[in-house]
Symmetry: C2
Subunit: 627 residues, 2 copies
Amino acid sequence: MPVTLALRPPMPPERHLNVIQELLDDLHDRYAGVNEGRVADYIPELAKACPDDFGIVIATASGRLYQKGITDKPFTIQSVSKPFIYALGLKTLSADLMASKIDVEPSGDAFNAISLDEQTGKPRNPMINAGAIAASAQLCLADPDGAERTMLDYFTDLAGHPLGIDEAVYLSEKHTGHRNRAIGHLLRNFGIIDSDPEPALDLYFRQCAIAVTCRDLAVMGATLACQGRNPFTGAQPLTPEICVRVLALMGTCGMYDFAGQWLYDVGIPAKSGVAGGVMAVIPGRLGIATYSPPLDVYGNSVRGVAVCRDLSREVGLSLFNQYAQPDATIRRSYRGSQRTSRRWRSRREQERLAPLRDLIRIIHVQGVLDFAGIEQLAAEFMKLPADVRVVILDLAHVTECPVESSYLLDRQLCALEDREVEILLSRAGQLPLATDRDWDISRRVSAYEHLDSALEAAENMLLERQGEAGPEEDAAAGEQATRSFLDQLAPAHRRLLLDLMTLRSFCPGDVVIQQGSQGDELFLVRTGSYNIAIDLTSSDGLSQTTRLATFGPGTCFGEISFIAGTTRSADIVALEAGECWVLHRRAFDTLRQSDPEVVIDLLQALTCDLGQKLAQTSIQLTQMEHY
Amino acid sequence: MPVTLALRPPMPPERHLNVIQELLDDLHDRYAGVNEGRVADYIPELAKACPDDFGIVIATASGRLYQKGITDKPFTIQSVSKPFIYALGLKTLSADLMASKIDVEPSGDAFNAISLDEQTGKPRNPMINAGAIAASAQLCLADPDGAERTMLDYFTDLAGHPLGIDEAVYLSEKHTGHRNRAIGHLLRNFGIIDSDPEPALDLYFRQCAIAVTCRDLAVMGATLACQGRNPFTGAQPLTPEICVRVLALMGTCGMYDFAGQWLYDVGIPAKSGVAGGVMAVIPGRLGIATYSPPLDVYGNSVRGVAVCRDLSREVGLSLFNQYAQPDATIRRSYRGSQRTSRRWRSRREQERLAPLRDLIRIIHVQGVLDFAGIEQLAAEFMKLPADVRVVILDLAHVTECPVESSYLLDRQLCALEDREVEILLSRAGQLPLATDRDWDISRRVSAYEHLDSALEAAENMLLERQGEAGPEEDAAAGEQATRSFLDQLAPAHRRLLLDLMTLRSFCPGDVVIQQGSQGDELFLVRTGSYNIAIDLTSSDGLSQTTRLATFGPGTCFGEISFIAGTTRSADIVALEAGECWVLHRRAFDTLRQSDPEVVIDLLQALTCDLGQKLAQTSIQLTQMEHY
């Protein structure tokens, strides 16, 4: 019994309908009044920033934005460009080249420290100035004329709209960047830069002066969260492999002088810039950005650090805070007798199928088929009863199948096939089951657009294996099958009815019954298959035509509006060449007067037939509801 | 159309049915022949280890084990105890105390380096010997007599069975542990240890000498992966908060002298011990352990490092490799007209409900309701049409609702209620929606055991709001409702039938129809509700009784075996006091002779009624199948 009402949590007086927006508002309120930290003033352009400016944006992997405060005011990206510049090097050059020029260790030094390895001269990591200058040098060397254009196009893809450079900040940094120029020459001295460092320094000053908004940074963060795919535009400026590496660097070297403390306390890969931006990434989920110019002694935005810390603690966003989902990959798994296809079959076929149905297993898989997902699927296969001969793997709710899993999945399916289990995929849709290797699951394994058609194929397969012809080729058995419906009637009644019916032939595609027409005829299938389809509207308003049922030999259709005298509610179409016995209303009405007992016998048979179908359908619906 | 067969990937000659096991075998084969590294020999006991011993175990969050090689041979845990000892300090003492004694920074030094902060004397992190000795000192101080017992009980919970100490290794380490004794005295010198360091050192030597197997380490890793809950035993030796911190430490300080490189290359929190064990954790998913005594120059097992690296690269197990699952939390969301309860209603009630159905919205939620999940749910609410008055939130497939989400969820539901939307929870089951704060979602919001009962409640709610009495109290309208079924018949036929029927009363719980009895009666509901239930068997073999349908005023039941002359296939039970008109087969048979037109009329009405129910049920089933 429902238990209703009681306490409600205390609520702020002004309420948002969306609790995420409300959370952002709360966070903004909490820190808007904090006056700690100092705006960067090593160049006049940065010193102009307003210390009260404060914005927070969350961008989700589904492409939604939540914003509060100053979120569309441009400021310079500064060091938030660093992970992206390193990623650009990994993308356009190579991981080996980048590794030969720059280490990936937290420096333990201040952001503008020189931090070069004493022996090799390699910058300790790409998140400090020396590392970014070294990365810029490689980009300039590879493409002296095009590096800046490539860089800006790339940032445009990351943010989802064209970004430009704040020329005033650029010039100011260029003219006062003595320390960075010193770093450039030291790198030249160690051979990390092979030629004049000035072009590299120029590209460095320009990348730092790219103008972004808080919203831009959140979108760029979401692009890293989504393995390099911008969830707002669909552009893919980075590969998953590069994102994994860049996020690791942001985790250890992005924020604090003290790498361990940030991961220990906050656990969110993040990068800050001296203009006040902070970009944080929850891999697979969110990009988060804050804008607030006052900086702490480490050069990180005071409010930005506070917001990241609170989000980690209060809503559990640490990277290390992953919830176990035991066996969540298996949406459902059940025996074939719990689910039949939409093909109505004669009693004889039903009886033949009944003992075979449990040789079919239906497994619905969902979510990301990552390593843990494949493991869950493999474990599910291990539990299959030994007599299972057909497995239908429904993939409609798989959201992603990474290449490495595609390989494992294929190996797993092959192992099952070696045990003489037939595998049918249903609704694999646009899953990237084709890999870039030499094989392709969907080329080898039978794939069906609908679960229903996979089920019908499995049923037909079992009937065929049983040594008799499948239903489609069962022309000879048709007569017998048809009689099996009429067998419910007394023999004299049956003969009388058959005399009144006419045999009609259909070609594939013939409309046997037209929606809206008068229901004057009752059909008994002799041979062939006849389909009734409906238009389903999904929750997003899209319409899809789907079969509601198929009538095979020995079944009857068209009875409802025939009996009720109403118009037809849907089309029925012949799938292949076939014949039906047709009873016209005139003959029925005549019979009603002359031989009411025959009509009663027929109506009783129809009632029983419908009752049986209703029971079967209701039980299936109930079973589905309870998964 | 299905496209079948083609290439298959190359397969090893001997095949496992489980691809995960096969992967483990492959990994084992790949590195079993590698002869790099040296067995630790600083004490004779460790030098006895066999360099060829090699085991790999994966323990999953679902409580499954995969093993290959030497997986049940005991060896000493050594430094793999360190994250757990620090966690024990966090658990039994406090985070502040531990932070005051030990830093959390990667040291950049070798595992046995002294690595104390120059000013404070604090060990750089808990993963080096100095940190573990400092942690042991706090445990000894707090409970001088019980510390070892507490520690062993705790390790027993972590591994899922009693663990003991290898006394030979313990004594050997105790007698030769000069360097560690020096560290103890240095810590005493800095005041990190407040008294004689010998008890702390003794506890330290004993923790390092705990005997474990490779399988034990995998289970302990899985316990960390599952937020402190041992997935094999259900014991909860650690809290989620502590696990988050310990995993962060393993990520930055667990394996390499160079913290950044491990996260950058492998991205898996891990800890190694000099006896050859490595324990790695995929948060939320897996514990992985290897045993292979030969060590590299950093003191990490050569084969263990190689296995971790390959798993990260080949099957995508890096912490930073998280796949986006856009809106995977919303399993389905659809309008009320796409789903009706199992209560069959009279035509009149159906007509009243029809225009109201879309005021209901059904949302099925799945997976972990973490922050991203709540965001997806909030966004789904934002999309609701403005006229929606009832939201049914089906939680059957929610696997976890963390406390912080429970708070957000409740705020979100309150915001919706403020907009005058009624919320019904269905199948919330054992979800921890009750929090430790002052409120409890399930105390305030109506909660139903089944989706079906929530749907019926929503329908009744709408009928009541429409200004007429709900179906349960609709006694006066009963007569009219009953007539509405018979209205399909000619008036003279109706009168004749009613004269032949007898009115029968039922009390709540009365068995109206008994399974197995002869189907001699047809029932027309005048008042009350009558339930037909079936036993559903789930895939795990459990049986559950569930309603297949409820018959309300104006509907008829019992027709199928009445017409077919068969026995009843299920019980039908009165839910409340009520009355039915009953037609007995004798009366029907008499009528068949005397007035066949009345029988034909009745059979036609039954055919139409069943046909309509079949169409409605089939459409619902088809809709459900296509989500």
